[in-house]
């Protein structure tokens, strides 16, 4: 597997970057610095939320994903479309158009991630009834949120819903089905169509799984551009979709919580709101809530930065589409003939220490005291001119030797 720090979630176009500090100031993990007038990302701290891609006024930040042509490396190509994809098309009243379109542009088979989501909902219900996970149970479907918790909110590890992501379940089942049809394993290529950089890196690195289930991760935007011209010309629209209204609802914040739970739940979306909730949870607030759904993107996955459509429009479309979808029973486990285990994390995802200054607490303390001293000599206006997101971050970079010791605050 690729090591986290070597994986480039977002890539900078240095020609376009003006060093304006917008991304640096808004990065939720302070992973960005501006050096020599250009933004640079510390990938070890990056959770892939896509905030910098969304906010860059010069479009200098590009989310990393695989090129569509990668599918041609496999003889049997399986597409995994997420529920949010259906919100991208104008006047779509039958999701089968999208699925048939995918077959038209080169895929041999499709497996809807929304179906995986419905299975997650079924499993979640069982787990909540069993009551083995610490309450409030926190959803883990958004990998940016999961990464954030693993990196910074170690306290909340026991609250995590230990169920595979819908896309991993979809990938697992789709691959098995292809194999059972007699297709040689090495010919099968499973491709997710991602709304966000977080799902690109989490699927490529594997989160909660022993090894990644997908062979590549494409972007909604790129696939959309290929789909639009063929969808209008389809000769025949086969009824392929197995999705119900519940799975589709997962595209939008609140969908997961609503499907899984009739008790007291909360759904928060947008990275700043997510941070607020996580901080509150550490302080023992929200004692009376049982289930917490968190999405890094405002609106849920329809707000992911790899989408083409405005999240509010996509959300409205999903709402319309849902009216035409069947209400499936949310207890689908028996349909697939798999036990509960099949859907659970195969291994605990690793805790990361992105904040810790040094493994030795004494050393960390010395550096922190040093940083505190430096901070007191700074104007504390967090202007960003020095290339750090705050005066505090600048003083810590100095104390930790991240920047040369003679670096001066440009304002004093």
């Amino acid at each position: 597997m690729i090591a986290k720090k070597d994986f480039r979630t977002v890539i900078l176009d240095p020609e376009k970057c003006k060093g304006c500090v917008t991304c640096m100031k808004r990065c939720p993990t302070e992973a960005i610095r501006v050096r020599n007038g250009k933004a640079s990302v510390n990938y070890e701290k990056c959770i892939g939320c896509g905030v910098c891609v969304r906010l860059c006024p010069h479009h200098a930040k590009l989310a990393y994903y695989d090129s569509f042509d990668e599918i041609h490396n496999y003889k049997y190509k399986i597409a995994l479309p997420p529920p949010s994809l259906y919100g991208q098309f104008n006047n779509l009243y039958d999701v089968n158009y999208v699925l048939n379109g995918l077959l038209e542009i080169g895929f041999d088979e499709v497996y809807e991630v929304g179906r995986g989501a419905e299975l997650v909902s079924s499993v979640t219900k069982i787990l909540l009834d069993q009551g083995k996970i610490k309450f409030p149970v926190i959803s883990t479907a958004c990998p940016a949120v999961l990464e954030l918790i693993l990196a910074r909110y170690h306290n909340l590890k026991d609250n995590l819903l230990n169920v595979l992501a819908p896309v991993d379940i979809a990938a697992k089942l789709a691959r098995e089905k292809a194999i059972s049809k007699g297709i040689p394993a090495e010919d099968i290529g499973v491709f997710f169509i991602s709304p966000c950089p977080a799902k690109v890196f989490s699927l490529k690195l594997g989160l909660g799984v022993r090894k990644p289930y997908v062979d590549g991760v494409l972007s909604v935007g790129e696939v959309y551009m290929k789909l639009v011209p063929v969808m209008n010309k389809l000769q025949e629209v086969k009824p392929i979709s197995k999705l119900g209204a519940t799975g589709l609802r997962w595209a939008v914040s609140g969908g997961e919580a609503e499907a899984a739970f009739r008790g007291k739940y909360l759904a928060a979306d947008g990275i700043e709101n997510v941070l607020n909730i996580l901080n509150g949870l550490e302080e023992n607030e929200l004692k009376d809530i049982d289930f917490i759904e968190l999405n890094a993107c405002a609106g849920g996955c329809v707000g992911g930065v790899l989408n083409v459509e405005n999240p509010f429009i996509a959300k409205a479309r999903i709402r319309e589409l849902r009216k035409r979808m069947p209400q499936l029973d949310c207890n689908l486990l028996s349909d697939e003939g798999k036990g509960l285990e099949y859907y659970l994390w195969e291994e605990e995802p690793d805790i990361k220490n992105i904040d810790r200054i040094d493994e030795d607490r004494m050393t960390a303390m010395q550096r922190l005291v040093e940083a505190e001293k430096i901070l007191n000599s700074l104007p504390q206006i967090d202007c960003g001119l020095c290339g750090a997101p705050s005066c505090r971050a600048f003083s810590e970079d100095l104390a930790n030797g991240v920047i040369p010791p003679d670096t001066k605050c440009p304002r004093v």
């Binding site: 509150g280 023992n284 810790r356 607490r361 960390a364 922190l368 810590e396």
Partner: protein, 141 residues
């Protein structure tokens, strides 16, 4: 002298939106030191409950925090209305929180008992009409 990080916060009275900022800052410092998550949790709860008490019951106050390698000392000092009967205030379930505050989910009367429960040293002094001082220590494992 022993190395220590000193932090100070102004806690504004009746400002619920701001409540919790001091404890967030303290937590972030402890994470930089690599303090055990269980200990951070204890600090977070004690600090937040103390902060919110100053917001609700004392019209604000100040938090003085000293972080050492092996422990954290938190002093919460306010010039609020004070507590008449400390023993009573410490009783689980005892609360004088008004209805509007209860509507926000506070007022279970569990703040002080929890602060005591989660800390290794807990002292409270108060004088009616003068104010309240809460002293807490949490020792790191």
């Amino acid at each position: 002298m022993e190395q220590c990080v000193h932090l100070e916060f102004e806690v504004a009275g009746n400002n619920f939106a701001q409540a919790g900022l001091a404890s967030d800052q303290v937590k972030s410092t402890l994470k930089k030191l690599g303090i055990d998550p269980q200990d951070i949790r204890r600090v977070a709860i004690a600090m937040y409950e103390g902060e919110i008490n100053m917001v609700i019951h004392a019209n604000g106050g100040r938090a003085y925090v000293d972080i050492f390698v092996d422990k954290i000392c938190i002093n919460l000092i306010d010039q609020g209305k004070g507590i008449e009967n400390i023993e009573l205030a410490m009783t689980p379930g005892y609360s004088t929180a008004p209805d509007d505050v209860r509507a926000l989910g506070f007022g279970a009367g569990m703040g002080l008992p929890n602060m005591k429960k989660y800390t290794d040293v807990f002292n409270i002094e108060s004088e009616v009409g003068k104010g309240t001082k809460v002293e807490m220590e949490i020792h790191f494992r």
